[in-house]
Symmetry: C2
Subunit: 420 residues, 2 copies
């Protein structure tokens, strides 16, 4: 591809779509060519935004198929409800568009396979816009792990845990799709923010893979209690049963014996945490408490009876010392808005991989397996925590898929090998 | 029983047995009448200790059966290796002795049943000496939970996680039984320190019960690496395979829909933690980080875009405010040595429940189900994380087992209702 600037269509203009659309305005080589949302009001507001910031009026569509038929569009961002991500992405690639897809979980294994096959058949670029993979903290930890500071990886942990009760319950008013998922489903509905960085660290799909998992869901109380407290017993959802358990726990086993523990809990009052833990033969990092212990580096006092000689250290200094080169440069050039700057990085990588015709750093195999955890956890919960196998979406190529040689990181280019 | 002072035989004089024996010397109504250990040196040293502190020479035995035949002995403490706890406890009750048993996991479900049946048949007092149930922190949290501060319980978590590599590897030299467990078994080998307080909080066996669990073990690397680093490749264990995974994760489902997450990891370098988490509909406490958030109490800032309004608080003030009455009194009277004072409390309760002829606060049904988690987790790991049912050792009586009315707590008497 020789184009210097790519024309992008943004499909889905809810809170997240608007957010990404605005971040896209910061990307030099991206041009917002068209917008799409079935809700007219959203569409008009978003178009007005673009005009006021760029002076150019984008095309607008209520139907994504119409947007996909516009020849000038090179790529689309899919920012719709969770259960429509895959089908729109698939239609877009079939229509010859590259796809940047927002995160979410899969509803079926089959839609993950279709995503993989259509990407392979069309040769279009497909990238999951998993912004947390680009986070300052996550990349510093990734950097530390690749330098061997944790030793051999043994156990990793992550969660998506905060209080989304109001956002979920007001789904109908706010036209947000989460509500219907919580009413009807029961599993780890949103695994990728924590699982993405974990999977990259574990080299999943490049010499390692997720073998199987088992999930357990707690009872469901949080949303119902919130409704009674804030909306009263006559609210239209007050007598509805939310099938989604307040806390869903998932254990995943990897081909090389590592274990991954995931927690999902967004319907109880609590501060935000991704509940991170990285543990290897040489040390451990914990997000909660912001602490780290590294063998041979962290303080180890001479042992007295029943006093622990191992001393936690605050992680802040390590974060500074091992900051990823990409972030060092990013800070110098000025960090953009959007979840602490990570939206810019992930969108920038997406645009770049189209322009330079290279593999996306978060590809369709990553996407398929990360998203599949949602429906697999639903299956396991439904069957009383039975273990279920995780499909190998590379059909065996994970065994000897090449590890690219890491490049010199620069903000001016995408890094297909960023997570290698 | 009308005796004011009970004669106790201590069986097993390894590190833990010596420790408890010394704590027993602090208990006014307990008299160390006999000691037992097959290792002569240990036995002599322990006896010398008792003589030097009390002026009275205890009887000494190499064979526990001989000790059990001594008529004057009212009760025994069983502090032997994990896999001999139950058989000695059973023999002791059959010989007419009350039993205080050290913690550990069960090797079979059948030995748990036998423990239950023999206790029922003999009518002897049986108590698990789970000291962590008596910890200052745990009792303060218990107090808070019973006052409703966490709302309805949803998800509890606990771990046994520290660096025991040296202790395990040097098992043969130090005559410690752990080594053989780590060479041969794979499961949550030591669940009760964290599970005891959790089970009490969840009213297990009194209106609630553990239904089933599933466990997953990581690969095993920590002990082998420690040996190579500290003992060299010619050490007799350098080529041995340790079957025990470095991290074993277990999920337990309760009858009322609560989930319990347990972690076991003692073969990697890290500071000590019991990895506690209590989460209900009104709040959450985390041991790591020493933080708490309580709905309507902890700070909640007005929400700005993507800033979390929920603010963690340090737990220290809550620990002071909600300190358990037992500990308030204990501090006034002077806290005894032994794991921060908890060994004294648990032994004191054991002695008291014999003297006053009341039910032990940690009874044989508690013991059986807590210990059973070990062999059940081994079964689940062996079967690829298959869910396995947890037996109901009360044979149905958990459904309407009476909740005793809490008494006014005092150090001078045992509290059979302490954990109600």
């Amino acid at each position: 591809m020789t184009k210097e600037i790519i024309n992008i269509g943004v499909i889905g203009l809810g809170i997240r779509g608007r957010f990404l659309m605005n971040t896209l305005l910061e990307i030099d080589n991206a041009n917002i060519f068209a917008l799409c949302d079935p809700i007219g009001e959203r569409l008009e507001q978003a178009a007005t935004d673009v005009v006021s910031k760029t002076g150019k009026k984008p095309l607008i569509f209520a139907d994504f198929n119409e947007l996909l038929s516009v020849k000038e569009i090179d790529a689309v961002l899919v920012c719709t409800t969770w259960i429509t991500h895959c089908k729109i992405a698939i239609a877009a690639m079939k229509a010859g568009k590259h796809v940047g897809m927002e995160v979410g979980g899969a509803a079926s294994i089959e839609e993950c396979w279709q995503l993989v096959r259509v990407t392979e058949e069309t040769g279009k670029k497909f990238m999951l816009l998993e912004n947390c993979c680009y986070a300052d903290n996550e990349l510093a930890l990734f950097n530390m792990e690749r330098k061997g500071l944790f030793g051999e990886l043994i156990h990793l942990q992550g969660g998506y845990e905060h209080d989304l009760r109001e956002e979920i319950v007001l789904g109908k008013e706010n036209k947000h799709g989460r509500l219907y998922n919580f009413l009807n489903r029961n599993g780890d509905l949103y695994p990728t923010h924590q699982l993405g960085p974990i999977a990259k660290m574990l080299r999943i799909n490049r010499g390692n893979r997720f073998l199987m998992l088992t999930s357990m869901a707690s009872k469901s109380r949080g949303l119902h209690e919130w409704i009674l407290e804030n909306k009263g017993k006559d609210y239209y959802l007050a007598n509805k049963t939310f099938e989604q358990g307040d806390i869903v726990t998932t254990m995943i086993k990897c081909a090389h014996g590592e274990t991954v523990l995931l927690l999902h809990g967004v319907s109880l009052p609590r501060p935000y945490s991704r509940d991170g833990r990285i543990q290897g033969t040489k040390g451990i990092w914990l997000e909660d408490g912001n602490t780290i212990y590294l063998h041979g580096i962290s303080p180890y006092n001479i042992q007295t009876c029943h006093e622990d000689p191992h001393q936690w250290e605050n992680f802040d200094n390590y974060r500074k010392t091992y900051r990823h080169p990409l972030w060092l440069e990013y800070e110098k050039k000025g960090i953009k808005e959007g979840h602490g700057g990570i939206d810019y990085l992930v969108l920038s990588a997406f645009a770049d991989c189209i322009i330079k015709d290279i593999e996306p750093p978060i590809d369709v195999y990553d996407t398929a397996v990360w998203m599949s955890i949602t429906c697999l956890s639903e299956q396991s919960v439904a069957m009383g925590s039975m273990p279920v196998p995780v499909p190998d979406f590379t059909s065996g190529s994970w065994i000897n898929r090449p590890e690219l040689k890491p490049s010199k990181y620069s903000l001016d280019e995408v890094h297909e090998d960023l997570f290698i």
